[in-house]
């Protein structure tokens, strides 16, 4: 107890200096009394005073001991170092600004990326038992993953023992009417088991049973349409013309079904077609069953379904992956990992940079340090002071980095929520900050150790070793920057290729309009008439050139495919698969897809007329390689109804920009009506300007139709969102890394020139040409950069093979990318050394020689 008390008193003593004044008073008094005693004993006044002094011993020592006892020397030193550090950093403004900025940018990006990674990669889905949820799909031997068909789903439900519960849903866009302005809502038909499986609890009202004609709406829709009025429960709404009652409000799972605002009942029927694959399935693994065991059982289930239904299911498999992976998607995961690696590299570079700066300063301060050492300062005291300085820098960097991260996270949350729903709740969490703070602390200590070894007295040799240290640090920085830069230039190459992709049509003057008529989907004739009349009316508008419609909105990421057989093929096992689109006659004209041969569709291609089909060029080439397919027939779908081929059009890619054109069959919409449809309107001017007229024309045919506009250019841009994010992030880091390295180079070269002043002065005086002086400076810089590249590019190559999957039509060994890195870095070397070289060549030889 007494030791705690002592510690507190001593700590307080640092600030209670008056105790030291007591001592002086006591000592004076002591001397006075002792002198008086000596005088009484017979000494002379002077003799007595001297003896008294002697009896007290070394007074300075007494005062020091007393002072040390009064305070805590360690704490006091820290306090003094801190004040000293702040003063020095304030005096060396350029140095501290560079250090703090580098650290802040490095740490800020580190925190941000850690947060993003933690919310995307390391936070489990917000569903009960989320780690046992799996996404289950079917897979056909030719085209890969497919959603389930309804009868297959029922069979799975009945036969699988390893899945304890199943949820099934089919997302679609529905026209919602009866609630003011008709609009298209993103909806999903779900089985009622979905609510329990995903832990969806109603906020108001209740969930529905499959037999009911009820819907559950999302909180957002509730707020938007009904201002969160509780009386919404029981209200009637119409979806695609059918009446439903709102049974409740709930937070719908945005991770799994982004943008979906409404659930309505799905009851799978065994009588549905086994070839209509449109139901996504989520299952929960039974307790104690591993995914691999479940997969083995699912294989058996798939085999048994195929045995019972050989015509439709031969060769089909059932696959399951963790729901987490399904929701995250491999492309997003790869993107996050890539950006994460970029930040880690950048952090290493920032540390090397700050270490370099500190080393430079410790060289500049070597006189101060050796003087203090000679005067008796202990090495540990000098080191403690250096460490304090580094920590102050690190702390400032951390504070600014934290603020930077907070700002960045705010922006990311705002921008990304739409495309990455899981980032909607992005926030700075304590764990992330702790990791980042630890990084900062460790690296600070590390580069203090690296750069601030107490100086030796053998100035010359010491200096050259440290210079080499700086060289190494610069080479490391250049190497790291070149790794980042190569990655960025590969992505740039890939992105340029993506942007230059010819989608098969001209997207700049096209408005895509998702239209959902208000009458029931089953009313076939009305739909056909509607999509015949609307394009005709639109084409009469002065600003519209052509108008057509397709069942697939270009670049929505969704498509439709079906199986077919060639005429004359009857073997049941032998079927082929291709994409299909239901289109209106002017679809090709409005997208600008050229008709290569035969004819386009006309209004005469209706129900009852000859069933026709148009092929894309690649489809014709693939399946009729050596003949003209026009006039031939293909057998459509499972029914095998023959369709006559009447034309061939150019290839188009309307799924995703980076997906290759796939063989496609076009059917006249009038012979294969489908809902909903997307109008493709080619305008003469800016597509945005036509929006109001287009809406009016559609509404004049169906006053309650839901319409949604999107210029095609934007849809295309959205479809290459991930490559764009990757490129922007990596590009930004690469540029900042290069600038950081360039500053480091500049600092080093300037210092070298300063050091060589006398030598350069002598050379100039002896008649050396200014250009050769300049070259000798720049040569040094080029050598450092070359070493950096020699070190960095092989690493970059090794790493870039890992990012192969992020690249489009770009090889990791792309010579252009390496060329770009080489040119830019050599340019940086020349630029960084230009100033110092110029200064060197313009030195006044007389002044330089006298320079000490």
């Amino acid at each position: 107890m007494s030791s705690t008390r002592e510690l507190l008193l001593r700590a307080g003593g640092i600030f209670r200096k008056h105790r030291t004044n007591y001592l002086q008073e006591e000592l004076n008094e002591h001397i006075a009394m002792l002198t008086a005693d000596y005088v009484r004993a017979g000494m002379s006044e002077t003799e007595a005073r001297i003896s008294a002094r002697r009896a007290l011993g070394n007074l300075t020592r007494v005062q020091e001991d007393y002072h040390e006892q009064n305070g805590l020397p360690l704490l006091e030193n820290i306090w003094r170092d801190l004040k000293f550090a702040l003063r020095t950093l304030r005096r060396n403004r350029v140095y501290s600004t560079l250090c703090i900025t580098t650290l802040a940018v490095g740490l800020g990006s580190m925190i941000t990326v850690l947060c993003v990674a933690s919310s995307l990669l390391w936070t489990p889905l917000p569903y009960p038992n989320a780690q046992r949820l799996v996404a289950v799909s079917e897979a056909d031997p030719h085209t890969g993953r497919w959603p389930f068909s309804e009868p297959d789903l029922l069979d799975l439900q009945e036969r699988s023992k390893s899945l304890a519960a199943l949820a099934a849903y089919r997302a679609s866009a529905l026209a919602m009417t009866g609630t003011g302005e008709p609009e298209t809502v993103q909806a999903a038909a779900v089985t009622s088991s979905t609510f329990a499986l995903l832990g969806i609890k109603p906020i108001a009202g209740q969930i529905f049973q499959e037999s009911q004609k009820s819907v559950v709406i999302s909180r957002d829709l509730w707020r938007r349409k009904w201002q969160m009025n509780a009386a919404v429960v029981g209200k009637a709404i119409a979806l695609d013309g059918e009446q439903y009652t709102i049974s409740g409000v709930a937070d719908l799972p945005a991770d799994l079904l982004p943008g979906v605002e409404l659930f309505f009942p799905l009851s799978p029927r065994a009588t549905e077609s086994r070839t209509a694959h449109d139901i996504e399935v989520v299952g929960r693994l039974r307790e104690g069953i591993a995914l691999s065991n479940a997969q083995a059982e699912l294989n058996a289930v798939a085999d048994s379904i195929a045995r019972d239904n050989p015509a439709t299911n031969t060769g089909w498999k059932i696959r399951s992956i963790p729901l987490f992976d399904f929701v995250l998607g491999p492309r997003t995961a790869r993107m996050v990992w890539m950006i994460f690696s970029a930040v880690a590299l950048f952090w290493a570079l920032a540390c090397a940079n700050v270490a370099g700066l500190q080393l430079a300063r410790s060289i500049a301060r070597r006189n101060e340090m050796s003087t203090r050492l000679v005067l008796g300062a202990s090495r540990s005291r000098l080191f403690a002071q250096m460490l304090t300085e580094s920590l102050v820098l690190g702390l400032c960097g951390a504070v600014f980095g934290y603020l930077l991260a907070q700002y960045a996270i705010e922006i990311i949350r705002r921008l990304a929520a739409e495309n990455f729903p899981r980032l909607g709740s992005l926030h700075l969490d304590a764990k992330t900050i702790a990791i980042a703070a630890l990084c900062m602390l460790l690296s600070t200590v590390l580069f203090t150790l690296l750069s601030n070894r107490a100086p030796d007295f053998q100035g010359g040799r010491e200096l050259s070793r440290r210079d080499r240290g700086r060289d190494v640090l610069i080479v490391v920085q250049v190497a790291l920057a070149s790794v980042l830069f190569l990655g960025a230039s590969l992505l740039l190459h890939s992105f340029v290729r993506l942007q230059a992709v010819d989608p098969g049509f001209d997207p700049d003057k096209i408005l895509s309009v998702r239209v959902n008529p208000s009458f029931p989907a089953s009313d076939n004739t009305r739909r056909v008439d509607f999509f015949q009349e609307v394009p005709q009316r639109l084409e009469r508008l002065p600003e519209v050139a052509w108008a057509g419609a397709s069942n697939v909105a270009p670049f929505s990421g969704y498509g439709t495919a079906n199986r077919f057989r060639l005429d004359g093929e009857n073997s049941r096992a032998q079927y082929r698969s291709a994409a299909w689109r239901a289109v209106t006659p002017n679809f090709f004209r409005s997208l600008g897809i050229p008709l290569k041969r035969g004819r386009s569709f006309t209004d005469a291609d209706r129900d009852g007329a000859l069933e026709v089909v148009i092929l894309s060029e690649s489809m014709a080439k693939q399946f009729w390689p050596n003949e003209d397919p026009i006039g031939r027939r293909l057998l459509w779908g499972k029914s095998g109804n023959p369709k006559t081929i009447v034309g061939i059009v150019g290839d188009l890619r309307d799924m995703a920009v980076d997906a290759l054109p796939v063989p496609t069959m076009f059917r006249p919409f009038a012979q294969l009506s489908n809902a909903p449809m997307t109008l493709i309107v080619r305008t003469k001017g800016d597509p945005i300007a036509a929006i109001e007229d287009v809406r009016r024309e559609i509404r004049s045919v169906d006053g309650n139709a839901a319409v949604e506009f999107q210029p095609l250019r934007r849809a295309m841009a959205d479809s290459i969102l991930r490559p764009r994010i990757s490129l922007t992030a990596l590009g930004a880091f690469a540029v900042v890394a290069m600038i950081t390295a360039a500053f480091g180079l500049y600092g080093l070269i300037s210092y070298r020139v300063n050091q060589r002043r006398q030598e350069i002065g002598i050379r100039l005086a002896l008649g050396c040409s200014t250009s050769s002086i300049r070259w000798s400076v720049q040569k040094r810089c080029l050598a450092l950069v070359t070493w950096g590249l020699v070190l960095g590019l092989p690493i970059a190559y090794a790493l870039s093979t890992l990012m192969r999957s992020l690249l489009y039509e770009t090889q990791p060994a792309q010579p252009a990318a390496y060329g770009l890195v080489l040119i830019i870095f050599l340019a940086v070397a020349l630029a960084a050394s230009y100033g110092p070289a110029r200064r060197a060549s313009r030195m006044d030889p007389a002044a330089a020689i006298r320079h000490e």
């Binding site: 008390r5 002592e6 006591e26 008094e29 001991d65 006892q69």
Partner: protein
């Protein structure tokens, strides 16, 4: 200065101060020093100044207290006195010291 004076053994100054304050009551620094020298009868080389850091240390440990008072020649002086924990500490240290001395003497006698 010719007489043989031993240095103050390490750690014993605290004990001597405590004992002095215990037997003499309240004293100022000079008084303590004088008392110790009187008892030592010139056989101890005490740097009188070293008393003051020791007094501060003892006060921080809570074994002695201090207050301003007036000295014999009517000047302001700081007076120290032993506290209750100080008395306990003194008893303990005295016992320790006796034990140590006894052990060392036994050892020295045995060695002869």
């Amino acid at each position: 200065m010719q007489d043989v004076k031993s240095e103050v053994p390490y750690g014993t100054l605290d004990l001597m101060i405590l004992k002095t304050l215990d037997s003499m009551g309240s004293l100022h620094g000079y008084g303590i020093a004088r008392r110790i020298e009187q008892v030592a009868e010139g056989s101890l080389a005490l740097n009188q100044g070293t008393i003051y850091p020791a007094l501060l240390r003892l006060e921080q440990k809570g074994w002695i207290g201090s207050d301003w008072g007036v000295s014999e020649n009517n000047r302001r002086a700081r007076f120290y006195s032993i506290t209750k924990p100080g008395k306990r500490q003194l008893m303990e240290e005295e016992a320790n010291w006796q034990r140590t001395v006894a052990t060392v003497s036994r050892l020295l006698q045995g060695a002869q």
